[in-house]
Amino acid sequence: MIRVQREDFDMGLELAKLTKNNHKVGGLTSFVGLVRDSAASETISSMTLEHYPGMTEKQLEHIESIAHQRWHLEASLIIHRYGKLDLGDQIVLVACASAHRGEAFEACHFLIDWLKTKAPFWKLEETASGSKWVEAIDADKDAAHRWSSE
């Protein structure tokens, strides 16, 4: 399941819903991305996330379907927010449920790595000296690439 929304989410509630009444689930992993205060060289005060409505949902669904092909998952969830976010706010939630922890951990890691290079979101960081679009970093590309070379 994927969701692209402006509103915040309740991680506990989302995780509970994801595995409710599914007793094949033995492991549930999750990753939450938060707005942190430091950009490359400056302290940021807030962040605005822009996305490409339509393509974003397609890409997230595509990425999720790849995860389900590669690992035995009982359920998965991606929630990604857009709009203006403050320090400490939740940006993204990725959760994977499986019979065993190994598949749940790997699929969750894969999803966040791939999402960072394939889902059309862009971060605008607001600092004391103005706003600046975040540049893509090679480390994210390398992290995503790791999953394609296996």
Binding site: L49, Y52, H80, P120, F121, W122, K123, E135
Partner: protein, 83 residues
């Protein structure tokens, strides 16, 4: 043809979306970019370094030699930074 721009491409061009009558001899993304660059200085500046530009045709990532036709939705944006 419907063109969409995101992030700094949108802010530098000052437009998020435009419907353009693109000449029929333009057959691929590269040709479209050349045509856009000749439309004005802001396009020329934004598209001066194509290594910074990613392209989607009908919401799928494509390379510059990808074919395009009149009804397509073509988006130009920088490498993504979500997550």
């Amino acid at each position: 043809m419907k063109l969409l721009y995101f992030a700094w491409i949108r802010t530098n061009l000052g437009v998020a979306e435009e419907l353009l009558d693109v000449p029929s001899e333009i057959k691929d993304v590269e040709g479209l970019l050349e045509w856009l660059i000749n439309r004005g200085e802001s396009y020329k500046t934004v598209f001066s370094d194509l290594s910074l530009i990613r392209v989607a045709v009908n919401q799928e990532f494509v390379e510059l030699d990808n074919a395009i036709t009149k009804g397509d939705e073509i988006a130009f944006f920088p490498p993504v930074t979500g997550g």
